[in-house]
């Protein structure tokens, strides 16, 4: 294997890794605020991309994407208000099952709205055939967009959660909902906000990856599995951890592909199982800390 080939595998790993990371971040936001895993996260990506594709026929691309993000954000909020909030005696388990049901409903609705055909957004810069050369390896300029947008999302999110009042209020809800309520935080709206935020981020992610990965109504579930793996691997609720774990899993997959591509899925599911059994707190958090937090 020569240098350009190694770089090429590396870039391929980084590309898929950053896609996984961006899905994982969506999981994290909702987890942070509510303690539940939203298994409809993959569907948010596809709804966002599909909406943007439909809008892009009538308005310029940036407007279409902004519109799609706005619509999906509202959809996320609506879903929370209609399906999550009214659940009585909401245990984590019950809410997670609700999100699985939601993912199926959204998927079927998309099948009816947009049929089963594969679509994709146009490339943001260049076209399907343009490449950027790095150390003898080639990547699509869209991949740079994916990387750039993931970076912006992670940074923005971290700043939001650390330094704004609303962000802090969301984290407070995650830590101790009763205490947060005593401090005058409207915890219900914080949960709604977390769904809106993760739907919006999901939609943006879906739009950015659409030119590369293409978009089909049932693509959400496979993406969600990978995103979930990464979220667990990086430690639930840890956005920076998700990015590192995403890149790690992406590179691992690229490494397996360089040997035998048929085993790629096997390896990533193995990773998920191993991490769930042996280190459910993730690679980057100390297990005693998270045990305290989760107790």
């Amino acid at each position: 294997m020569n240098l350009p080939q190694i770089v090429q595998y590396g870039l391929s790993g980084i590309t898929v890794g950053s896609i996984y990371a961006i899905v994982a971040i969506g999981f994290n936001i909702i987890y942070c605020c509510t303690g539940i895993i939203n298994f409809a996260q993959g569907e948010f990506l596809i709804v966002g991309a599909m909406t943007a594709i439909s809008l892009s026929h009538v308005v310029p691309l940036p407007v279409a994407i902004a519109g799609a993000v706005a619509i999906t954000t509202l959809l996320g909020g609506l879903i929370e208000i209609v399906f999550i909030r009214p659940v009585k005696n909401a245990s984590v388990l019950r809410l997670v099952v609700v999100t699985i049901g939601l993912s199926i409903v959204i998927r079927e609705a998309m099948l009816h709205l947009w049929d089963e055909k594969v679509r994709s957004l146009p490339y943001f810069t260049g076209s399907a055939v343009s490449t950027v050369t790095i150390l003898g390896a080639h990547i699509s300029p869209q991949v740079l967009w994916v990387l750039g947008v993931s970076t912006v999302i992670v940074t923005g999110l971290t700043l939001f959660l650390r330094f704004t009042l609303t962000g802090r209020a969301m984290r407070a809800c995650a830590d101790d909902r009763m205490a947060a309520r005593l401090c005058g935080i409207n915890d219900r709206w914080m949960v709604t906000l977390s769904f809106m935020l993760s739907a919006g981020i999901g939609a943006l992610a879906g739009c950015v990856i659409s030119p590369v990965t293409q978009t089909q109504y049932d693509m959400g579930a496979p993406l969600a599995i990978k995103g979930f793996t990464v979220a667990i691997l990086g430690g639930l609720g840890n956005s920076m951890g998700a990015v590192a774990a995403g890149l790690l899993l992406g590179l691992l997959e690229a490494l397996v592909t360089s040997q035998s591509s048929a085993y790629k899925e096997v390896v990533s599911i193995m990773v998920l199982l191993l991490i769930l059994v042996f280190r459910p707190s993730g690679l980057f958090s100390r297990s005693d800390v998270s045990a305290l937090r989760m107790a």
Partner: protein, 418 residues
């Protein structure tokens, strides 16, 4: 405590999602409808003239023909045009007086793209409706599920699905109209040979279509002096194939063959261009839909693939034997349904064409006589090619049924050697 719950829960979820992923292409369908939709069409949008209604008693009894097609579900892009085509065909036939004085009564059933549904519909058609023949199903999996049922029920099956195993080994009552996988592989290899290509990479998806194609490519490579230097299988739902293609590129091949359906077909083309892998890309006959080309954008230009001639009917020489039947079918379909005709609809057209030719030849609607006549049909010009059936060949098409096509500026064109 929550860690544990989360762990167990997640394991269950992964199980559920993985188990679901196998059948996610086929959304659940309602239980079999107890009543036959005679003779109403399965597609609500279709305006059907009462041509198939029973006529005054003086007329001969209609010949019942069933159709099990994937009108809904994952294979709806196949079954939809097939059902519409079948309805159009029968309507035209009946308004022209039917066959041997009999009208055809078409009973279309929607399989929802699922083999279990196809099985119960086949039993229903054979035992309750007592049809002469069944058109369909649309996919290979469904066809294989009902192959034996039709054989044992002595009902002619004219499948619209591709897999070679449908007619090999031959079951005496089972036929199929789409071209063979092996002939597609042969055409690809022949084209490569003409281009002087000997060392290739093969990438296939891990679904039924990809696996079957991969086997054919592997079995036939020796005949054409081709070496497969890299052979990679990828997940059918893959969203990035640059890793796989990097490996193939590393094997320094002269061309790549991809055998899959959407969405990977377009993805391979895009990813190859992205990693600067500029050797010719060959695709299977599954690429024959302009929508896939649009999904691939600029990257799809230059793709070479074997396909039936329906897609290039307009540019076919006027004296080509298939020109008339193709233009008639395409024109009729596009006029009636206001959408592009596809090769899939063509398969249903051919199935009904073979059946009606056999009925004419047999001069009766006796199942065994029609079956014998079917087996001896020669030179029937259909949309998929010219059918020459025999007791050992229940498909009747050969390599000449395929034309090598390419994509130029986002449109299909006949491939010409440079």
């Amino acid at each position: 405590m929550r860690t544990k719950v989360l762990g167990i829960l997640s394991l269950c979820l992964v199980g559920v999602i993985l188990a679901g992923s196998g059948c996610k292409k086929a959304p659940p369908t309602p239980a079999p409808k107890p009543k036959a939709q005679t003779p109403a069409p399965a597609t609500p949008a279709t305006p059907v003239k009462p041509a198939t209604e029973a006529k005054p008693a003086a007329e001969a009894a209609p010949i019942k023909v069933g159709a099990i097609l994937a009108v809904t579900g994952g294979a709806a892009n196949l079954g939809g045009p097939e059902a519409k085509t079948a309805e159009m065909f029968v309507e035209n036939l009946n308004s022209a007086g039917g066959i041997n004085g009999h009208k055809i009564q078409l009973i279309v059933k929607d399989s929802g793209s699922t083999p279990p549904q196809a099985i119960s519909l086949a039993k229903q058609l054979i035992e309750e409706d007592k049809v002469l023949a069944i058109i369909g199903p649309s996919t290979s999996g469904e066809t294989m599920a009902i192959k034996n049922i039709c054989q044992e029920g002595k009902t002619i099956l004219l499948s619209c699905a591709a897999a070679e195993t449908i007619v090999n080994p031959v079951a005496s009552y089972v036929f199929k109209t789409p071209q063979k996988d092996s002939d597609a592989a042969r055409r690809i290899y022949q084209t490569m040979k003409d281009m002087g290509i000997t060392k290739i990479g093969v990438v296939t998806s891990n679904d039924g279509f990809g696996v079957a194609g991969g086997k054919q490519l592997d079995a036939l490579k020796g005949e054409y002096g081709i070496t497969i230097a890299a052979n990679e299988v990828y997940d059918a739902k893959e969203t990035d194939l640059t890793g796989v293609l990097t490996k193939v590129k590393g094997a320094e091949v002269q061309a790549v063959v991809n055998w899959s359906i959407v969405p990977a077909q377009s993805l391979v083309a895009k990813n190859m261009k992205q990693i600067g892998f500029n050797v010719p890309l060959f695709q299977s006959h599954g690429f024959g839909n302009i929508k896939y080309v649009q999904a691939g954008g600029e990257a799809a230009n230059g793709t070479i693939f074997p396909c039936g001639r329906l897609l290039v009917a307009d540019v076919l020489a006027a004296d080509h034997p298939q020109k008339k039947v193709l233009m008639d079918y395409k024109g009729g379909y596009e006029k009636q349904y206001k959408e592009d005709a596809s090769t899939f609809g063509g398969h249903a057209y051919d199935a009904l064409l073979l059946l009606t030719e056999a009925l004419k030849k047999a001069g009766s609607a006796d199942t065994d006589k029609v079956r014998d006549a079917l087996e001896n049909l020669k030179g029937v010009v259909g949309t998929g090619g010219i059918f020459n059936l025999s007791a050992t060949d229940h498909n009747g098409l050969d390599q000449s049924a395929f034309e090598m096509l390419t994509v130029m500026d986002g449109k299909f064109a006949v491939y010409q050697k440079k």
